[in-house]
Symmetry: C2
């Protein structure tokens, strides 16, 4: 019902952003947008990319200054973008777009690859732009929007500056980050990219509306950016990779059923052997499977990264992230003047501050669990001794307290991890994100698995583990379906639908404003950790419950759709920087796949049937242990060898990469002066200035 409404709305605004903007610009006789500084970028249509929401108390004076700043050329310290004041000069919106040259120059700066006339993907070069195919329009919506954010975030005061209409305490110092300052001063409340209704409709139709099996990953990449596309590629790849273990699991369960049924008839003489070997087969298979899966994913990830032009990102050569601070100096790599922060100091901070603090929190998790077990034992003892109303109520107290404690700890930890990572002062945004993710990830993972590990390794109670695991798998699945399909549907029905009906006649600004009423996208952390945790159930304890893979496969098939629905419909469009891979998540999956060998071997050893079998064959328990250790070592060595033997990138990508290396080597040798010695006086203050290639007159 409401989907049909959405369709109609989309059909009406045919030709997407362009149409609606031409209307918007027509209403204010074109100069609603700031002027373009270079002649090549003048165009009839301006596409609204990003919305800046201003604070309520911001005066028109400040808004005018801000629009001017956004529209000023980069050589004058502006962002070189296009700004539109919305309905009137005093409204609380600024709509931002980007002219062609700014986009192209930023593309070069980010190191994005684009299709060259030779048919290969090559790192984009502004000077050589005419040799790139379709060079006016090759940037995806996600890239265009990220570039706007990148330019806004990169705004720095060129000299001390008072912002009109603000108090003196907000005066900008030289090299201050303007956008951060504006945010802390309450001038800008939010900066977020705008949805393109038309494209979104096409995307959602191809993605989750029908019952298609393949995801439109290229379109996802174009619309949301590579991090989202990588997440969904991984989700899809992982889901299909679950097929082999799922099939094996079904077979083993089926045959061991038959066996146990027939053995009940014939008598239970040598019935345990096949079931054991089935479990062992399953465990060994899943241990090797996880490595092969990760290696193949790495290859696929490299291909995708090539396809999406993010194989040669140059984040380390670009300006540092806005939050980075340090003493001004000459960067020895690029020769630019920028804040520098010594690596050893960062490492020291990580070793002496972050590591102990994270360790402390992990200790608290373990302590909490031990406290829970202790309290539960105590309460049960009390209940046995007294057995009245009060003690029965007391029975649930430990669980409640433990849940409260865990949740509180998690909340506190998130803040602490954020400040720790800020304190570590990473230069690149990706490094920052990776370190933050790693911290939260370890904590969340331990939090999820502490109880299972406790049962497996300390209590050594395989039946309890099996029970717990099965209930967790089914329970999480139901919770997932509720939180990811049912609740979204209800939210969409009762919260999103009302503002969708008013589409037809409203001014464009109100539609934009409506987007800002959606909650911001919470990031991909929750999605990834969900996958990691289920991968953990699968690989760590696979031999305990052979049907894990089947359940996960079913779960993930719906997960793809519900996640897609969520990101398309229920949240504001998020900014995502271009990335070349899954970052720290890949490492997490790989580490898990190695830990799984240890846990599986241990669980197999614990299995009562194996113990019994060993005794029957006259093996002492220490010989049994010894052979388990031997098997474990062999498996780990095989896994290491597999991961070395399967190259991380396909041959054709390696060749393309080497070809680029060769070309740049040749270019370096033939350039007049391969590396100007970094001298502080001559160095370009920022990449903004170096955008006009110095040797253009020689080559053109």
């Amino acid at each position: 019902m409401d989907k049909a409404g959405g369709d109609q709305g989309g059909a009406e605004v045919k030709a997407g952003g362009q149409t609606l903007l031409s209307r918007l610009s027509a209403s204010s006789v074109r100069p609603g947008w700031t002027k373009v500084s270079c002649p090549c970028c003048v165009s009839e249509r301006v596409e609204p990319l990003v919305l800046v929401k201003l604070g309520e108390k911001v005066g028109p004076e400040t808004k005018r200054w801000l629009i001017k700043l956004i529209g000023a050329p980069q050589t004058d310290g502006g962002a070189g973008l296009l700004a539109h004041p919305g309905e009137d000069a005093s409204g609380d919106l600024i709509i931002v777009s980007a002219p062609r040259c700014t986009l192209l120059r930023a593309t070069e700066e980010l190191g994005l690859c684009k299709l060259y006339r030779s048919g290969d993907m090559e790192a984009f070069s502004y000077q050589d732009r005419n040799n790139f195919k379709d060079s006016g329009r090759f940037l995806t919506l996600a890239e265009r929007q990220f570039i706007v954010k990148y330019e806004l975030d990169g705004l720095r005061a060129q000299r001390d500056l008072r912002i009109p209409g603000l108090l003196d305490i907000y005066t900008l110092q030289r090299r201050d980050n303007i956008w951060q300052k504006l945010q802390s001063a309450g001038v800008t409340l939010d900066t977020f990219p705008l949805h393109n209704t038309n494209k979104l409709k096409d995307l959602s139709e191809a993605w989750y509306s029908g019952n298609q099996l393949a995801q439109p990953l290229d379109s996802v990449n174009k619309y949301f950016g590579s991090p989202v596309a990588f997440y969904f590629s991984f989700l899809g790849f992982y889901t299909w990779s679950l097929l082999p273990p799922a099939i094996l699991g079904v077979c083993i369960t089926y045959f061991s059923e038959i066996k146990s049924n027939s053995s009940q008839v014939i008598g239970s003489e040598d019935d345990s052997a096949p079931a054991i070997s089935g479990h062992m087969l399953q465990a060994v298979f899943s241990m090797l499977w996880s490595t092969i899966f990760m290696e193949l994913w790495k290859r696929r990830s490299a291909s995708l990264s090539y396809r999406w032009g993010t194989l040669h990102l140059t984040e380390r050569f670009a300006e540092p992230r806005p939050g980075f601070h340090g003493n001004l100096g000459v960067n020895p790599v690029t020769g630019r003047v920028e804040p520098l922060f010594p690596d050893w100091q960062r490492e020291l901070r990580m070793a002496l501050v972050s590591l102990p603090v994270v360790g402390l929190f992990l200790g608290l998790v373990v302590l909490g669990m031990m406290g829970f077990y202790w309290a539960e034992a105590l309460v049960q003892q009390l209940n046995e001794d007294w057995d009245n109303m009060l003690t029965q109520i007391l029975l649930i107290v430990p669980s409640v307290l433990h849940i409260l404690f865990t949740n509180m700890l998690a909340t506190v930890y998130k803040t602490v991890a954020q400040s720790l990572t800020e304190y570590e002062n990473h230069r690149e945004e990706s490094a920052f994100q990776n370190h933050l993710t790693a911290k939260v990830l370890v904590f969340t993972f331990i939090n999820n698995f502490a109880v299972l590990f406790h049962i497996a390794f300390y209590k050594q109670d395989v039946p309890l583990l099996r029970k717990r695991l099965a209930s967790l798998l089914i329970f999480t699945q139901i919770i997932n379906q509720v939180t990811e399909v049912v609740i979204p549907f209800l939210v969409d029905r009762f919260i999103s639908a009302p503002h969708r009906t008013q589409r037809e006649d409203d001014p464009q600004q109100d539609k934009f404003r409506n987007q800002s009423s959606l909650p911001p996208f919470p990031g991909l952390f929750a999605e990834y950790i969900e996958l990691l945790v289920q991968f953990g159930y699968l690989s760590l304890f696979s031999c305990v419950f052979p049907l894990t893979a089947v359940l996960l496969l079913l779960n993930n098939l719906t997960e793809i759709r519900s996640d897609a629905y969520k990101i398309c419909k229920l949240f504001r469009k998020p900014f995502f920087p271009p990335v070349a891979n899954m970052g720290v998540w890949q490492v997490a999956f790989e580490v898990l796949s190695f830990v799984s060998v240890v846990s599986n071997c241990w669980l197999l050893l614990l299995s009562p049937r194996l113990q019994q079998m060993g005794q029957e064959n006259g093996m002492s328990s220490s010989n049994l242990l010894l052979s388990a250790v031997l098997v474990e070592h062999v498996l780990i060595i095989v896994k290491v060898i597999i991961s070395i033997v399967i190259p991380d990138e396909p041959d054709w990508i390696r060749k393309k990469r080497e070809h680029i290396e060769f070309s740049s080597m040749q270019a370096l040798r033939q350039s007049p002066s391969p590396s100007p010695p970094p001298s502080p006086l001559l160095s370009r203050p920022a990449s903004k200035l170096s955008k006009v290639p110095p040797s253009e007159e020689l080559t053109s």
Copy 2:
């Protein structure tokens, strides 16, 4: 005595090769050397670099043709070198030198780094040569000589060609490797670099004549090339790294002596604990030490590689090695026409041929050992049963047979490994060498350690292992000293000395010919494997015999000198290509350091005192085993973390590397056409033709 003679000889030919060559060229009124093709390379003095020894039956016609070929410019299919016919046109020597331009162009092609005017090491660029410091003479002797070999090896027939004075079966086809053909036709017998008496004298004085502690590594690199310099750097680094474990070993031995003495007086109640903890301390220390040592070595290796200008070698972009064959095609990386061989085919050959064959040989080693033990048991049984002269002689038969079998196997294996690696058809010489070395290395190592592993893991007899290890250590040390110091001294005294006395008046040719009478240098394999084996004794079984490190330290201090003496005096000067690290040896040492954790934990577990202690403390043997496994896992994790946390290259090198990456990225972006699409018609047939930079007129 003979050293003094050497000194005088050296002093007489002061100013080294130059003087003796000016005399040589004066004798034949300069045109003894072929003409230089480019004017900038004309110089008064020509330094003889390489000697080519011809077969006895080679006619003057062929020799003239060969000299012409060597002297012809590269554009005409020649080597672009300088050749001198020796005494007369019919002699069996050709002396080869290289003009400046050929040297510089090859330097660029090999990707050697040289000191730039900015003070950094930069990849040499022929076009930019004037900005490099001292660009006429920055090449080391080893580099100049290797370049001559490189050019000779790279000679390929440009069209079908009959070699004058040879049978028709030796007619060259187009693209045939000329030098290989000449060798197989018996025209050239030997090609080897000439010693520079003067430099050699200086080097040997600084290296091993005095009692200096530091080695003149830079001079070694200059004279012999980077592989030799890396070997000696590693040897030195390793020797000094032995100090901490040696000191610890002495302390532990000393204190456990005291303890055991005092406990003999007081009574043996709780005396075993400290000794055990001493052994454990030693074992844990040496396991962690080996990782830290390897990580620090990698950093040092990177610094050395930067210092010696081999950090950015471009072997993969150069012509394939002479033995490489395949169908002609366009290399997708460089765009040149050259033989291509698909990677998957090579991998298939490795997996389906090399791997099974190597496995077979390893199996034969194990089989041999088992046969030996079986035969020995049999013979001893026989001896006990019959006990006569015959059976007593029979007692030594198994050992003799085993030694014979092992040696035969090793000889056969070396040939097989060589052909297997040839069959794998590696494109780069370094890949070929690494694969060959890896094959021989695994075999030799297993051969050396099979017996020890058998004692440790199968017989589980720690005292026997200790006895065996001690005897091996002392025995190998004595053998080493004999083979590496005493025999060399004798050889030098009675074989080298006679030809050294005739230095003064002989014609230069005879002195050169004398060098060819020395045996060729057998390569560094034997030296490295010796280090690896002793590193194996140290790390694998360190907890058994704590004084290992002390013995090895003493051994290595003399080893440095004897190895240096050997390479300087007893052999022909060998060719060594520039390399960036130790190659496969580094991996071997690292793998060993991880295997050592397993073996040490196992040996500690076996130690009777620990078993006894466990029983006293009421631990069952399987609990003891469990804690050993736990300790092992923790140690391996700690080692993995250490090796990740310590970066493989120092920060300053990382910065310089990134700076170069940044510069080449910039250059690529600003070059007129970053990557000409590889088209077979336009592609340059070989790097020889592309040496005149196409854009010189634009930039100069």
